[in-house]
């Protein structure tokens, strides 16, 4: 069984494998992320939550609906209240993600996931953070790119030939987006003097450290925090350059992955890190599987 799956993966060209990885990676992380909220779902979304839905509604983006605004409408028209709408979203969203994961009606599933994710985010606007934005980005690309062409239920059911055109263009767009994310993230840090003098890393180690047993105070008199601040800026700002150079690509990729693993364990941003690792591997690792650098490089240019 495992051998069959491995053979299946090996037979997919690198320029299609990254799409499968993106679909599976994003949907898996999003499912686990949503599951992680279930223990306190009531405290975040119900009428009895920390910020009740009617109060949260005032800050929501009025371009998009929220669970509260939908329920306001449905209760008037059909008598369906807030809890029924919330329960529907709570059931349908993970099912849509599972469907995307399996590649069943992939585009429709991706669209449904994206709409529901935005609905959920708009209903908890005060609690959203980076991981949510990157999940939106991932789901959007799952909708636009042909991510359901390989290793999917669609592939088994409909047996249509895989789309093999424009794949490198999709990869290029995705790569440029990932590069811009890192470049601008590093650039914004460069503008803040606290990143340049080590104070930000020091503050992060104290204010966002989820491993209290790791105490780095004894290093305060060393230039470690200053160097770490500049390393983060350099790693992010130089990402587009070194990830594009064949000789440094692998090194930079593993540096960035290590950086995200450190963020996950030190700061507890597990889902943010997981999504960024999925993005990096999809963009710069998967397209090269089974190929030498020289083989893939010319295909990347339009």
């Amino acid at each position: 069984m495992t051998g069959n799956v491995l053979n299946l993966v090996k037979n997919i060209p690198g320029n299609r494998l990254w799409l499968v990885f993106l679909r599976v990676g994003i949907s898996s992380v999003a499912i686990i992320h949503f599951a992680a909220l279930q223990g306190d779902f009531k405290d975040l979304f119900s009428q009895d939550s920390f910020v009740s839905p009617d109060i949260a509604e005032a800050l929501k983006n009025h371009l998009l609906p929220s669970v509260y605004s939908i329920s306001h409408l449905t209760s008037k028209i059909m008598g369906i209240g807030y809890h029924a709408i919330l329960l529907t979203v709570r059931i349908v969203y993970p099912l849509a993600l599972l469907s995307l994961l399996a590649g069943f009606l992939t585009r429709f599933s991706a669209l449904l996931c994206l709409l529901l994710q935005l609905l959920i985010l708009n209903s908890m606007d005060l609690y959203t953070y980076g991981a949510d934005v990157f999940t939106t980005i991932g789901l959007f690309y799952c909708l636009v790119f042909p991510v359901g062409e390989d290793i999917s239920v669609d592939c088994l059911l409909f047996k249509k030939p895989a789309i093999t055109t424009h794949l490198n263009k999709f990869l290029l767009i995705f790569r440029v987006h990932v590069c811009l994310i890192y470049f601008f993230s590093g650039f914004e840090k460069l503008l803040g003097y606290t990143w340049r003098n080590g104070e930000s890393i020091w503050k992060m180690v104290h204010a966002y450290n989820v491993l209290p047993s790791v105490d780095l105070d004894f290093l305060a008199r060393t230039p470690l925090f200053l160097i770490a601040g500049w390393l983060v800026i350099a790693l992010e700002m130089l990402y587009p350059l070194f990830i594009s150079i064949t000789k440094t690509r692998r090194l930079w990729l593993w540096l960035v992955v290590t950086f995200h693993v450190a963020i996950a364990f030190f700061m507890g941003l597990y889902f943010f890190s997981a999504i960024m690792i999925v993005f990096n591997l999809a963009a710069y690792y998967m397209p090269y599987i089974g190929k030498s650098n020289d083989e893939i490089a010319p295909e990347l240019y339009l």
Partner: protein
Amino acid sequence: MPIEKPAGRSLPAILSLKLRKKLINAWGIFHISCIVLVCSYSIYHKYCRFYKIKEDSLVKNINANLLFNVPMLYYGKFTGTESGYGFFAPNIKSGGIIAGDCDGKKIYARFNNFETAMRFSILSSRVTDYLITSIDSADSLNTKLKERYYNLVFKNIAVKIYNQNHCKQDTLYMSYNMITYPTLHQYRRGHQGYRLQKIKEIRIVRQ
């Protein structure tokens, strides 16, 4: 770039392929341009806010006309490109703790898992951010409205914590505290340990 063409493709199919290619090219350029523009403005906006510089009216107008319109806002929302990606920049926000006194002991919000605790800390950071900004900013109508809104949010959180901890007292004091750590510079000069700086307190009375 080599484009793989399945054998036996008809003329309309080839035309459709060319149209698709043009469409993808156009969308790709548009999409990447949007990201660059949004990120560039985000950097400029944050820079001005951080260093308390007045934004250039021309840049502000270009942003308002080019990016801050309904179609672009929708596009940004659906693609995740509505805001920049400078998390924890240019400065790391201060965190806050919401704590109350009940039956002689300190009470806090309770969670069953780490992810919710983290999301709650994001809410706390937003309240901290607002409270700090409102102290600095002018006494505008917008600020007053926001102040009333965040008061309401804070009271809501306080009531929830009160109920979560099954308080028996009729009156509860709930405070919002900012956690301040000594800076690296201060630490080197001998300042150690964090302190909680109370920046807001409310009283809740059970009726």
